[in-house]
């Protein structure tokens, strides 16, 4: 009897193991099969085939953002249009920001078959290119990307190159960058402060003094990071990755790469920020708080913040924080164009894509086709928004599809404009893009592989000192000296020398 029981138990156990192993090995049966008949990629010498010659293909678009409720509906609508034009369907794959880096790394490492991936110079683009994650796009652009070339300012493509080749198509948006402040106009009106003569950070001193005295409930200058030493305000061009030391000035012609701690401008701004901090203009927890400036604006405790400028920035912040009509902005620096803007938002084609030609066609459509572009960005007309000419208004269903990622997809000048924004937004952008100073380093991206170890060590040193110093929270003279000593210790000179060397090679080859 016991023998039988024992044998039964043993059998059950064996079965359990087998079930585990088998179910593990046979895996997921419900995995959707993407591409029944993938088109062979031989882009080099083919003419662009008419849509009817193309086999059906599902293009996956991987981008950072929150998954939207009505994603399927929008996909269907897009599919109708795309099937007509390029006999393709689309698979939207949004990934939350918090998971983005991890997932993309794993995706690339596991050779997952995807087509289009969002990428940016500040998000490891150069790194991923050197690891072979993205396809070189030169030929594809020539074949299928005429619309892109026609609509994009050449500076974009030029500025996004790595070693002379393009691995990502930049979004067509504002090209120039400038720094400035956004402030509470209603408060300055109330207190009778004249802002028309405020042109430099130093001019703000008097303004903040009044605000602090008369409106103690407001933080005159709210920040969580660099303030005036933010690279968009002080115009530092870090030649690729702004977390790796070594920069030049965007608005000047010099081509000597230096550690920013040695640049006069940096020290000036540090001292100014420290002065403001001591005077109580800057929030005391600037170095540690995690309350974003957006949240702070919403809570109504902020008078001004330092921002990267573009036309309508004040209106943008105002509508996001419920302060519509109360904000104004002042641009305080020269407009510049550098790699950080041109390569700040791109779409790359994965080297695992089964039909790169089709992927390029889709990107081309995003740069030229108004209907497709707006469908992807805002949803279905009549359902997710109502339209009047170029202006669109929100509906009850807007929240079901509102990715807010227009800055990632194609040509922003095709976008409709929300009724809460400036109706002339795009015209003003075009104007803003003109006459900007081009950084000497446009088109150059530093490759940190040769000095990997130093960069790793430096990363920690920078994180240790930068935020505290740049928010004005600590004494400048003493800490700056300490900081520089530690940087030297970690090998900053070697990194700068390498950067200079690569930069000189780039300049020579132009």
């Amino acid at each position: 009897m016991k023998q039988v029981k024992q044998k039964t138990f043993m059998l059950l156990l064996l079965m359990l193991t087998i079930v585990l192993v088998v179910s593990a090995c046979s895996g997921n049966n419900s995995k959707t099969n993407n591409n029944p008949e993938p088109t062979k990629d031989s882009a080099a010498t083919e003419e662009e085939p008419p849509a009817s010659d193309l086999k059906p293909y599902k293009i996956s678009l991987v981008y950072p953002g929150t998954p939207q409720t009505d994603e399927k509906k929008v996909e269907e609508a897009l599919n109708k249009l795309l099937t007509e034009k390029i006999n393709a369907t689309i698979d939207l794959m949004p990934i939350d920001w918090g998971a983005w880096d991890d997932k993309i790394n794993l995706m690339i490492a596991s050779h997952e078959e995807v087509d289009i991936i969002f990428t940016a110079q500040w998000n490891g683009h150069a790194n991923n290119v050197s690891k072979g994650a993205f396809l070189e796009l030169g030929d594809l652009i020539d074949q299928y990307g005429k619309g892109i070339v026609d609509s994009l300012d050449p500076a974009f493509l030029e500025g996004a190159k790595i070693n002379g080749k393009n691995y990502g198509i930049p979004t067509n948006k504002e090209l120039a960058a400038a720094g400035g402040i956004v402030y509470r106009k209603d408060v300055t009106d109330e207190l009778g402060i004249d802002m028309s003569n405020v042109k430099t950070p130093q001019d703000l001193d008097a303004v903040y003094a009044v605000v602090k005295a008369k409106r103690p409930d407001l933080t005159p200058l709210y920040t969580t990071a660099g303030v005036f030493n933010s690279h968009f305000f002080a115009n530092y061009d870090f030649l690729g990755d702004s977390t790796i030391p070594g920069a030049i000035l965007k608005d000047e012609a010099g081509t000597t790469v230096t550690s920013i701690e040695k640049i006069e401008r940096y020290k000036q701004y540090l001292n100014l920020t420290r002065d403001y901090f001591k005077k109580g203009y800057i929030n005391a927890d600037a170095a540690t708080t995690q309350v974003s400036s957006g949240d702070a604006w919403k809570a109504g405790t902020v008078f001004s913040t330092v921002e990267p400028m573009k036309p309508g920035k004040d209106a943008e912040i105002a509508s996001a924080s419920g302060l519509t009509g109360k904000l104004a902005q002042i641009i305080m620096t020269e407009k510049t164009v550098a790699t950080s803007e041109t390569a700040g938002s791109m779409l790359g084609i994965s080297s695992t894509s089964k039909d790169p030609a089709r992927a390029m066609m889709l990107i081309n459509l995003l740069h030229t086709d108004k209907e497709i572009n707006n469908l992807l960005n805002f949803g279905i007309e009549g359902e997710h928004y109502t339209r009047n000419g170029e202006i669109i208004t929100a509906t009850d269903s807007t929240a079901n599809y509102n990715p807010g990622s227009a800055w990632m997809f194609g040509n922003q000048f095709l976008n409709y404009v929300w009724d809460t924004e400036d109706p002339d937004k795009w015209a003003k952008f075009k104007e803003f893009n003109q006459n900007a100073k081009v950084s000497p380093a446009l088109g150059f991206v530093f490759n940190s592989e040769p000095v990997k170890a130093e960069v790793g060590a430096l990363a920690n040193v920078i994180r240790q000192y930068q935020r505290a110093l740049e928010t004005g929270s600590v004494d400048v003279d003493k800490i700056l000296a300490e900081y520089e000593a530690k940087l030297k210790d970690a090998g900053v000179d070697k990194v700068i020398a390498e950067k200079q060397k690569q930069f000189d090679e780039f300049l020579a080859s132009k």
């Binding site: 016991k2 023998q3 029981k5 024992q6 138990f9 043993m10 156990l13 593990a24 090995c25 895996g27 997921n28 995995k31 409720t69 794959m93 939350d96 920001w97 918090g98 998971a99 991890d102 997932k103 790394n105 794993l106 490492a109 596991s110 997952e112 940016a120 500040w122 998000n123 979004t171 948006k173 969580t224 990071a225 660099g226 933010s230 968009f232 990755d241 702004s242 995690q290 309350v291 974003s292 957006g294 949240d295 702070a296 919403k298 809570a299 405790t301 990267p308 573009k310 943008e316 996001a320 950080s340 700040g344 938002s345 807010g404 990622s405 227009a406 800055w407 990632m408 922003q412 935020r467």
Partner: protein
Amino acid sequence: MEAVEKISSGSNPKNQLSIPASLGINVFFIIYSLLCIIPLVLIVMVSISDEGTVVREGYQFIPSKLDLAAYQFLFKDATQIIRSYSISILVTIVGTTLSLIIMALYAYPISRADFPHAKFFTFFVFFTMLFSGGLVPWYLVYVQVLDLKDTLLALIMPLLVAAFFVLIIRTFFQTTIPAAVLESAKIDGAGELTIFAKIVLPLSLPVLATVALFQTLTYWNDWFLSLVFITKDGNITVQYLMYKTMLNIQFLANNSTAAAAITAAGGTFKFPSETVRMAMVVVGIGPIIFAYPFFQKYFVKGLTVGAVKG
């Protein structure tokens, strides 16, 4: 089932503490319990406060203004929350049960001193505690070799064998199962499996309950597996659903370059406020608070000890 019984004989028949000592201990624990509960109370209070007040005044036990907006916001997508709860519950129950069985089965042989290979297999499981190939190879095995992307099995399998618990169970088996018991069973002609099921397990309720409790927590609290393996259809656990937002916030808080670049490029962030984050914590913890009381009744001596002794 009664908890630990007190014994009686001698001058201190019930072997109890003197009154002053007992009082001291009780007071001590009351204070400590308060220290543990107060932060949670704070979390709940913040989750029902008005957002603007929180930013202006910081966390307060008695907020000046109450507001249930945080929960309204969270439950707008009630279907997803319900779905994630069911996934979490399913994964937790199946995972814990399987895990307990598999680990106990492994721990028993290596607890037997007469088993010559015991040392080898102890080392086999211990080694995995220290050495790891890293995230990428592990991910590759699950996705390419086993093809488990987007499956529930992927949420269960990685946590089934925890070396730490295996070794704890082994140690408990070694110390609490009297050899005489095993011997008498052998004499009766019982096979190893019978001994295991009928003697060892009943005597080991405390450690099994402990490990079951911990595994329940491990499965319930896990968000990483959902992050890595689930890409569609919202088959994510409730922890990840809640934690996703925290991760998004963390990403920007720790990546000021990225944040600056995104804002410069035109992206804006709609982050839930402080109050919503706290509400998320409450929703994420939710039912698991009852796990401990549930398992507590198993923290008792083995049933058959007395029988054998007699």
